[in-house]
């Protein structure tokens, strides 16, 4: 399978790899996917006020899954929570030129953003 240059770039130079303190009140953590499905994404955000000031990820999955989550962290940094929730998987598909069999990777990345935001909101009692 041939990968787009953008997928290769994110795979070779993933942005924002790492972890934030998941117990911190200003950090939201989303873990989606399952090992037996071959995809697990962990996406974390640090929020100040209503704005995402930092984002980190770790992904177990194929190159497209790594690229989707790397791109997601890049996109959500600096956005408000509502703006981040507005990101659609189809935008990721388009940006990375994902083929049909890899669309589930973009869906997972969208789910990871939502899950991290919900975790943060839950912690804040919102």
């Amino acid at each position: 399978m041939a990968y787009s240059n953008k997928v290769l770039d994110h795979y070779n130079n993933p942005r924002n790899v790492g972890a934030l303190d998941k117990s911190a009140p200003d950090v939201g953590t989303g873990v989606v996917g399952a090992p037996e499905c071959g995809d697990v994404m962990k996406l974390q955000i640090r929020v100040e006020g209503d704005r995402i000031v930092d984002a980190k990820f770790k992904t177990f999955g194929c190159g497209s899954a790594i690229a989707s989550s790397s791109l997601a962290t890049e996109w959500i940094k600096g956005k408000t929570l509502d703006e981040a929730l507005g990101i659609k998987n189809t935008q990721i598909v388009e940006e990375l030129s994902l083929p049909p069999v890899k669309i589930h990777c973009s869906v997972l990345a969208e789910d990871a953003i939502k899950s991290a935001v919900n975790d943060y909101k839950h912690k804040q009692g919102k």
Binding site: Y3, V32, G33, F60
Partner: protein
């Protein structure tokens, strides 16, 4: 050392230059149709085909009259299974095979199920091996055929062919074995092993693609098949179609070389395979061998790298050509059916890589591949949330996963 490095010898092999040289005259100089009986062009072609038939027969301990040329193993499997099932359907309708077989066998068996046959798909053990006791238990009075591979193409595990052959002969049941990965790699003897039908493919043993052979036993018992290809009645009526003379010459030359160099090839492959395994296991923890350490092909190594997904690993070692059992490398998004049948667990199936070494592999290439694999796995583990969780002491089996696909 030239990049990329080819370590996928179970998928296919390069044509040996000596094989190519033997083939070339049969494209343009000796181009005759082997079925042309009334001129020298035809006689030359026929003589070359018959010489090749002898070479194929000798590699597997058969007689030349027992060799039917086909387009490869898939066709040979279709002919053997459908041809025998149709021929012996009045004797019984039950067939035994295993879940770890190649798709050519599995899908042919599913086709036969739709034709009214009953098929038992045995589950192999965790190493991919089907023990003779399991076959014995599955045998029924109406069993007509047992189809079990000699060596598995994904993990290299060898089945106890000799014991299964003896059992089948004692019970009067035909025994087909897919010898595609075994022929030329390990000694194959259809007499000693009591095999009735066996297939092989030229491109797995340094011959050309598009040609293979089916062995059909002629004595004790005489096996009869219903032809699956109608036409001019070539190959004793079992496979019509003008013979692929250059391909068959190539298959014959490849079989001769495989026979003459079998011991040296096997020793070379085993040494490099073991070296590769040692290097990787020394460089990384949490690596699992898929397959059978005792009963396995000398040239195959299938490893699962825990916490790392197979396709992403392939991307990280793109100068090394290998295969993965990961779902993401297949269109179906299902992980390898062989690893599933072996119950290694889907997460390890997603993390599996098959390495195949061969006649032209060098130690330098193996060293390079091991280095690249170790570096890529380390990098991807730093990227892996599973590795992080495992390091924190979380048992991944107890985690409630959400949103899996």
């Amino acid at each position: 050392m030239k990049l990329p490095i080819y370590l996928d010898y179970q998928a296919t092999t390069p044509v040996d230059p000596r094989v190519l040289e033997a083939m070339l005259p049969y494209f343009s100089v000796h181009f005759g149709n082997a079925a042309s009986r009334n001129h020298s062009f035809g006689w030359e072609a026929e003589a070359a085909v018959e010489k090749a038939r002898e070479e194929v027969a000798e590699l597997i301990g058969a007689s030349p009259k027992e060799i039917v040329f086909t387009s490869g193993s898939t066709e040979a499997i279709n002919l053997a299974l459908k041809g025998a099932a149709e021929m012996y359907r009045d004797k019984g309708r039950h067939i035994i095979t295993s879940q770890a077989e190649h798709k050519a066998v599995l899908d042919t068996c599913k086709h036969l199920e739709r034709q009214g046959f009953e098929v038992t798909f045995l589950q192999p053990d965790r190493t991919g091996r089907v023990e003779v006791a399991a076959v014995e238990q599955a045998l029924r009075p109406d069993t007509i055929l047992v189809a079990l591979m000699w060596a598995n193409n994904e993990v290299g595990t060898l089945n106890p062919v000799r014991e299964i052959g003896a059992l089948c002969h004692a019970r009067g049941v035909l025994f087909f074995t897919d010898a595609t990965q075994a022929a030329g790699k390990i000694p194959v003897d259809v007499e000693a092993d009591q095999v009735d039908l066996a297939c092989l493919s030229a491109h797995k043993l340094y011959g050309p693609k598009g040609v293979g052979a089916l062995y059909v036993r002629r004595r004790g018992p005489r096996v009869r098949l219903v032809a699956q290809m109608d036409g001019g009645g070539h190959e004793r009526g079992m496979r019509s179609g003008t013979l692929n003379v250059p391909g068959i010459v190539g298959l014959g030359a490849a079989c001769r070389l495989a026979r003459e160099e079998l011991a040296a090839d096997a020793a070379h492959a085993a040494e490099l395979r073991d070296h590769l395994e040692r290097c990787i296991l020394e460089g990384l923890d949490q690596v699992h061998l898929n397959g059978n350490r005792t009963h396995r092909l000398p040239n195959c190594l299938n490893l699962s790298f825990a916490y790392v997904e197979g396709e992403s690993l392939l991307m990280g070692i793109n100068d090394v050509a290998v295969s993965s059992g990961s779902a993401c490398t297949s269109a179906s998004l299902e992980p390898s059916h062989v690893l599933r049948a072996m119950a290694v667990g889907d997460e390890l199936a997603h993390s599996s890589i098959r390495f195949g070494v061969g006649r032209f592999t060098t130690r330098e290439e193996v060293d390079f591949a091991a280095e690249r694999v170790i570096a890529a796995v380390r990098r991807l583990r730093e990227l892996s949330p599973l590795y992080e969780m495992a390091k924190e002491g979380i048992d991944l089996k107890t985690v409630h996963w959400q949103g899996g696909h």
